[in-house]
C-alpha cells in the first residue's frame, strides 16, 4: 500500500489510463514515425548536400540556406507563390461569399446550383488542368476562338510570362469556389432566423441586413476560410506542375515554391536543397498565418457566449 504517488489512484482510474494509452497508441506511433521525426529529419537534411552516384550525403552546414538566399529562382518562386495566393484567395472567397448568400434563401434550384458549383471539387486536378490547357490553347483553344470572334487579339495563356500565373490562378479560383461556398453556406445557416425577422420589423432592407447581420456574424467562418485557403494557395503545385514544364518560357514567372521543392528533391535529386526550400515554405506559411491571426481582432466578430 505504500507505493508513493500511485497510492491514491484507484483501480478504475488505472484502467482508464491503460485504455487511454491503448487507444491512442496506433495514432501516436504513426504520428511520431510519419510526421514528427520527419520534420526534424527534413531540417537535418537541409544541412547536407546529396553526393553524386552513391557518395552519400555531405555535410555542408548552412550552405544550402546561403545558396537559397542568393538563388534568383527561389525569390521568383516566393514572389509567384505570394502573388498567386493574392490573386486566388480574395477573389475566390468573394465569389464564394456572393454565391453562398444568394443560395441561403428559398431560391428555386438551390440544390441544383449547389451540386453544380461543387463539381470541380470532386474532379482530379490533373484532369481539370488538362481541359483548361485545351481551353487555353493558343491556336485551337475555345477561349482564343471566342476572343478572335469578338475581334480581340488572341493571348498565349500558358506561355506568356506576364499571363501564365494569372491563367493558373483562374483555374485555382474555379476549382475552389464550390468548396468555400459550402463552408460559408454552413456558417450562414447557423445565423438565427429571428435576427432577420426582428430587423425586418424595424424596416431594414436586404442590403442593410447583409451588412448589419450577415456580414458580422459570418466573420468567424470567413476567417477560417481565409486562413485555410491561404495555406492551401501557398502550397500550390498540381495545376502548375501539369501546365508549366521546365522548358516553358513562362516557367520563371510561374514556378511555385512547392514545384521548385519537387524539382530539386525528385528531379535533380538534391534532397538537401529541396529540404531547405521546404523549410522556407514553412517559415512563409507561419508568418502569413501569424499575421492573419493578429489581424483577426480587427475584423472578426465573436458573439459573446451566454
Amino acid at each position: 500500500m505504500s507505493r508513493g504517488p500511485y497510492k491514491k489512484v484507484s483501480l478504475s482510474q488505472r484502467s482508464e489510463w491503460y485504455w487511454g494509452w491503448f487507444l491512442i497508441a496506433p495514432t501516436m506511433v504513426g504520428l511520431i514515425v510519419l510526421n514528427i521525426i520527419p520534420i526534424f529529419q527534413t531540417l537535418y537534411l537541409s544541412f547536407f548536400k546529396s553526393g553524386d552516384f552513391g557518395r552519400g550525403n555531405i555535410y555542408v552546414g548552412l550552405d544550402n540556406y546561403r545558396k537559397l538566399l542568393n538563388d534568383p529562382q527561389v525569390w521568383h518562386a516566393v514572389g509567384n507563390t505570394l502573388l498567386y495566393a493574392l490573386m486566388v484567395v480574395p477573389t475566390g472567397i468573394a465569389l464564394a461569399m456572393i454565391t453562398a448568400v444568394l443560395l441561403n434563401r428559398n431560391i428555386k434550384g438551390r440544390v441544383l446550383y449547389r451540386t453544380i458549383y461543387f463539381i470541380p471539387v470532386v474532379a482530379v486536378p490533373a484532369a481539370v488542368t488538362m481541359v483548361w490547357r485545351w481551353l487555353y490553347n493558343s491556336h485551337y483553344g475555345l477561349i482564343n476562338y471566342l476572343l478572335s470572334r469578338l475581334n480581340f487579339s488572341t493571348v498565349n495563356w500558358t506561355t506568356d510570362p506576364d499571363i501564365a500565373l494569372a491563367s493558373i490562378a483562374l483555374i485555382g479560383i474555379w476549382s475552389t469556389v464550390g468548396y468555400n461556398m459550402v463552408l460559408l453556406l454552413a456558417g450562414l445557416q447557423e445565423i438565427p432566423k429571428t435576427y432577420y425577422e426582428a430587423s425586418e420589423i424595424d424596416g431594414a432592407g436586404k442590403i442593410r441586413q447583409f451588412f448589419v447581420i450577415t456580414l458580422p456574424l459570418i466573420t468567424p467562418t470567413l476567417f477560417f476560410v481565409v486562413v485555410t485557403s491561404m495555406i492551401q494557395a501557398l502550397q500550390v503545385f498540381d495545376v502548375i506542375y501539369m501546365m508549366i514544364d521546365v522548358t516553358n518560357p513562362a516557367y520563371e514567372r510561374s514556378v511555385s515554391l512547392v514545384y521548385l521543392f519537387y524539382n530539386n528533391s525528385f528531379k535533380y535529386l538534391n534532397k538537401g536543397y529541396g529540404s531547405a526550400i521546404v523549410m522556407l515554405l514553412l517559415v512563409i506559411i507561419m508568418i502569413v498565418t501569424v499575421i492573419q491571426v493578429k489581424a483577426q481582432r480587427k475584423w472578426v466578430y465573436y458573439m459573446k457566449e451566454g
Partner: protein
C-alpha cells in the same frame, strides 16, 4: 412586396446561372472534344461544337495504350485503405482524447495539433526515404503510407465525441460495460455523421493527391489515376481528343458517385471544414 422581390430574384438567378455555366463548360468541352477527330477538334472556321458522329475511337485507343482497370484498382485500393485506417485509428484516439483522463494526454494531443499546423510537404522526403528503405516503392502500401494515421481525423472526431452528453458513459458503466465496450457499442454509433464526413474527406483528398503517387510509384503499373494522367499528358501532348478521353475516364467514376451521394458529400465537407 411581390413586385419589389422579383427584380433581385432575377439578378440572383442571372448571376447563379452564369456561374453554373462557367463551372460546367470545361467538363462539357472535355466530353465533346473526346468524341471528335483531331481535325474536328482543331477546326476554327467554322468551329465544330458537336462531332459529326459520336465515335468511341479515342476511348478505345486510350484504353488500349493504358491499363485503366489497373489504375482504377490502384486508386480505389489506396482510397479504401486510407479510409479504413483513418476511421479505425482516428476514432480510437479521438475517443480517448475527448473522454478519458490519463497521464500524457495533453502532450500527445499537442502533437496532433502540431502536425496539422505544418505544411505536409515537409514530411515527403523522409516518408519517401522510409518507403524506399523498406523496398516498398511501386506498391499499394506505398500509396497508403502517408495516410496510415490521420491527425486531422483525430481532431475532427474528437470534436464530435466532445459534443456527446456525459451521462451516456455513466449509464453504460452502471450496465457493466468497460471502457472498450462503451466506446464501441455506445459512443461510436453516435458519431456516425462524423465518421461519414471523415470517410468522404479522406477518400476525396486521396483521390486528388498528385505529388505523392508521382514520387513514390514511378512505374506505370503502380500509378494512380491522378499520376497516370500527368504521364499521359506528356506522351500525347498534341492529340487533345485522346487526352480528353483519358480525362473523362479519370473523372467519371468519382463524378457519378458524387452525383448519387451529393448531399452526403456536401454535408461531409461542410462538417469537416466547420468543425476544425
Amino acid at each position: 412586396m411581390a413586385e419589389g422581390r422579383k427584380l433581385p430574384g432575377f439578378f440572383a438567378h442571372l448571376f447563379l446561372l452564369a456561374g453554373a455555366f462557367l463551372m460546367i463548360l470545361p467538363f462539357v468541352w472535355m466530353l465533346l472534344t473526346s468524341f471528335k477527330t483531331v481535325t474536328e477538334s482543331t477546326a476554327w472556321d467554322p468551329l465544330v461544337i458537336f462531332p459529326a458522329s459520336w465515335k468511341w475511337e479515342n476511348y478505345l485507343e486510350v484504353l488500349k495504350q493504358y491499363d485503366f482497370l489497373r489504375l482504377y484498382w490502384n486508386t480505389l485500393a489506396m482510397m479504401a485503405l486510407r479510409v479504413i485506417c483513418a476511421l479505425l485509428f482516428s476514432s480510437m484516439a479521438a475517443y480517448a482524447f475527448a473522454r478519458l483522463r490519463f497521464p500524457g494526454r495533453d502532450l500527445c494531443f499537442g502533437l496532433v495539433l502540431f502536425q496539422m499546423m505544418v505544411p505536409p510537404q515537409i514530411f515527403i522526403i523522409p516518408q519517401y526515404l522510409m518507403v524506399d528503405a523498406m523496398g516498398m516503392r511501386n506498391t499499394i502500401f506505398a500509396l497508403l503510407f502517408p495516410g496510415l494515421v490521420s491527425a486531422f481525423g483525430t481532431f475532427l472526431l474528437r470534436q464530435f465525441f466532445m459534443g456527446l452528453p456525459k451521462e451516456l458513459e455513466e449509464s453504460a458503466k452502471l450496465d457493466g460495460c468497460n471502457i472498450g465496450q462503451t466506446f464501441v457499442r455506445v459512443m461510436l454509433p453516435l458519431v456516425r455523421s462524423g465518421l461519414v464526413a471523415l470517410a468522404i474527406f479522406t477518400a476525396l483528398f486521396a483521390f486528388k493527391d498528385l505529388m505523392w503517387p508521382l514520387i513514390v510509384n514511378t512505374s506505370a503499373k503502380a500509378a494512380t489515376l491522378s499520376s497516370a494522367l500527368a504521364k499521359i499528358q506528356s506522351a500525347y501532348s498534341v492529340n487533345y481528343p485522346q487526352l480528353m478521353a483519358a480525362a473523362v475516364i479519370a473523372i467519371l467514376p468519382m463524378l457519378v458517385v458524387y452525383l448519387i451521394f451529393q448531399k452526403q458529400f456536401v454535408e461531409g465537407i461542410a462538417t469537416s471544414g466547420g468543425k476544425l
